[in-house]
């Protein structure tokens, strides 16, 4: 049984704003019967067409999909369209007091429907798409190559979700988007996308700080290992553990696929180069076997 918060249960058992708005200004539809969940969102704007004065929904899905839709309609009422666009899937989950990670895709669906509704209202061109309103292929920003054939999810959409939620594993991507949750055939492709997103994050210029206290230096080393280096190793099935930091000497032990790998020396040099780039020029990485 899922461990739902009292707020999720309340919004599931007593959903707010179920129904439709006949003269709605904006309507957003995502999901399909085949996907196992779908949401149709209706928005009514004020006279100046700025603020959302009413929101209604219809949802096919599990308890957390219904609760996420109900929460979304409550959250956007009274907001301007720009304010509404700033609502993230995490905001929806937070409003509900949290969702189990396996159910995060429900909050993503809410956020997606909201975006679709507003994009359509603003007259952004809709691509021709099939009648199933597949996740991620429903509006122009997320056009792209279909990665998950079972749920019809595109690479552009997956990259957005990976980036905004800082996802690092294929399992997380499945929990957030359902991609890879059926036949699993696209999991290697999802891993590639994670690597791409991580790579792109690195490409953004990050400068080495001028001066560092010892404490700051240790913190920064740990941060770079966690954010930049370990996720890279994970994509190859490897890992490392930080053993000790003594001045400029960083001791690491390689784990999983990296442990005992013939090229772990090269990996150690890669780690060293990265740390020299982002922390301090004098860093020396030593591999220890622990």
């Amino acid at each position: 049984m899922w461990d739902y918060t009292p707020t999720v249960k309340d919004h599931f058992l007593n959903p707010r704003n179920v129904g439709d708005i006949v003269d709605a200004d904006a309507v957003g539809e995502v999901g399909s019967l085949a996907c196992g969940d779908a949401l149709k969102l209706f928005l009514k704007l004020d006279e100046n067409k700025e603020k959302i004065v009413d929101a209604k929904f219809q949802t096919f899905g599990c308890a957390s999909a219904i609760a996420s839709s109900s929460a979304l309609t409550e959250m956007v009422k009274g907001k301007t369209l720009d304010e509404a666009l700033a609502v993230s899937n995490q905001d929806i989950a937070d409003f509900l007091g949290g969702l189990p990670e396996e159910k995060m895709h429900c909050s993503v669906m809410g956020q997606e429907a909201l975006e679709v509704a507003i994009y359509k209202y603003r007259g952004m061109e809709m691509p021709a798409h099939d009648s199933e309103h597949d996740h991620g292929s429903a509006y122009p920003d997320y056009e792209g190559e279909i990665v998950c054939k079972c749920f019809g999810i595109t690479d552009a959409f997956l990259k957005k979700v990976i980036e905004t939620n800082a996802l690092t594993t294929a399992e997380q991507v499945t929990n957030f988007t359902k991609a890879g949750g059926a036949c699993g055939g696209c999991i290697p492709k999802i891993k590639d996308l994670i690597a791409q997103v991580l790579g792109e994050a690195e490409a953004k210029p990050r400068t080495r700080p001028e001066k560092l206290s010892n404490m700051k230096k240790m913190q920064l080393i740990q941060e770079v290992l966690e954010r930049d280096i370990r996720p890279l190793l994970w994509t190859d099935g490897g890992d490392l553990e930080l053993i000790d930091i003594d001045g400029s000497i960083v001791q690491v032990a390689f784990r999983k696929a990296c442990a005992g790998c013939a090229s772990s020396g090269n990996t150690a040099r890669m780690v060293e180069a990265k740390l020299r780039d982002l922390v301090a020029e004098d860093i020396i990485v030593e591999e220890v076997s622990q």
């Binding site: 899922w2 599931f12 058992l13 959903p15 179920v18 439709d20 539809e29 019967l33 085949a34 196992g36 969940d37 779908a38 949401l39 149709k40 219809q58 949802t59 096919f60 899905g61 599990c62 308890a63 957390s64 999909a65 219904i66 396996e102 159910k103 079972c150 499945t174 359902k178 949750g181 059926a182 036949c183």
Partner: protein
């Protein structure tokens, strides 16, 4: 809130008579059955009695029963044994709708280089016997087919399948965890070599199972390190649970008739009432021979987890073959194999009854279920379209 427990294919209540039978074997008669002294000896004789009771239910000899920790262990032991017995054979046959205890193991063995054939089923959930016939060959070590399906209750013609397989020299195993106690089984008139059963599906506690191994069938133990169970399953006997399983099997034999009359009538009444009250529903496997206690109904336009949680508000416990309850996102592999469309696979609910189910409980479900489906359909964009169309 008093529970209305209609999830007996998941697990069952321990019968109070079973509990009373096992109670002394914790604090009073706690001896080790293998000990030489009188204190262990009296436990040994009770374990033997339990073995006879299990054998009686199966129509087998007591020495054909090996006690294990669960149905999953029995399944694992049977398949592993066959592969060790026939090291020169590298082919395993099973079905697409098996329990994960069999299916996952076979798929792991495939990774290790074994050839695995998964026989398909038709739209009613019935086994494709022609495919089985065409798949068995000289390389086949074991064929493992379930007696009855846990999700739909559909009964496979395992006796016929065993005859076919035996003629090719392979071993035949059946996971009969769901069938035992619900339909009569007589191993004396069967060609099945190995058969798994689980205590907690027939009103014994969790943590006890058994594997039937026909006399003369070569067997290699899965658990080694002790002489227990004639060295076929090492480890100190779980005496209390074995005693419980024996009693549960005795009671199952006595209530077999009840399962196929009273329980079956309750199941039929529930299923007919729901099919009448709720449009756009279908019985999964309705066209095949099924266990008397099980019905799986697919409701279109709604999702299973939402149904279960609303049922739960009335104390009604059922289960779903749907995506979201199981942690995996795909609808049940059983319903997919039967070709049940995604659209209703997501909204499938399984009710599984037992001899403890009352008519009043069935009445409550018949009363509460249709409004729940209506409420969710009212909320669902697809349900609303269908309501509007007035179909």
């Amino acid at each position: 809130m008093k529970e209305i427990y209609l999830d007996n294919n998941a697990t069952t209540k321990v019968d109070e008579a079973v509990f009373e039978e096992m109670r002394p074997y914790f604090c009073e008669l706690y001896g080790n059955p293998s000990s030489m002294h009188f204190f262990g000896g009296q436990v040994q004789s009770k374990v033997n009695e339990a073995r006879e009771r299990v054998a009686a239910l199966l129509g087998s000899q007591p020495d054909e029963i090996i006690f294990t920790a669960c149905g999953t262990e029995s399944d694992n032991a049977a398949i592993r044994s066959a592969l060790e017995v026939f090291p020169e054979r590298h082919h395993i046959i099973t079905s697409r709708v098996e329990h994960p205890a069999v299916l996952t193991q076979c798929r792991n063995l495939r990774q290790k280089g074994y050839r695995v054939t998964e026989i398909g089923v038709d739209a009613t959930g019935q086994l494709d016997m022609d495919e089985l016939k065409n798949s068995v060959d000289d390389d086949t070590a074991i064929v493992s087919l379930m007696w009855a399906n846990n999700e739909t209750g559909v009964i496979f013609p395992v006796q016929e399948a065993a005859e076919l397989v035996k003629s090719k020299g392979a071993l035949f195993h059946s996971d009969a965890v769901q069938a035992i106690g619900k339909i009569p089984i007589n191993m004396a008139e069967s060609q099945i070599d190995m058969l798994s059963l689980s205590g907690h599906k027939l009103h014994a506690p969790k943590g006890i199972g058994a594997l039937y191994v026909r006399r003369g069938t070569p067997f290699r133990p899965f658990m080694v390190g002790g002489h227990q169970e004639k060295s076929r399953r090492a480890g100190t006997e779980n005496a209390a649970a074995i005693v419980a399983l024996g009693k549960a099997c005795e009671l199952a034999g006595q209530s077999m008739n009840l399962e196929n009359t009273v329980v079956k009538d309750q199941r039929d009444r529930l299923q007919n009432a729901l099919m009448t009250a709720v449009p756009h529903a279908r019985i999964n496997g309705g066209g095949a021979e099924r266990l008397p206690n099980t019905t799986s109904i697919a409701f279109e336009f709604v999702e299973g987890e939402a149904i279960l949680l609303l049922l739960s508000e009335f104390g009604i416990c059922a289960s779903s073959g749907s995506a979201c309850t199981s942690g995996s996102l795909e609808p049940s592999h059983v319903l997919r194999a039967m070709g049940v469309p995604f659209t209703c696979a997501h909204g499938s609910i399984r009710f599984s009854l037992s001899r403890f189910t009352t008519d009043a409980e069935i009445d409550t479900v018949i009363r509460e279920m249709p409004p729940i489906i209506a409420k969710l359909r009212q909320m669902s964009p697809f349900g609303r379209e269908f309501l509007k169309a007035g179909v």
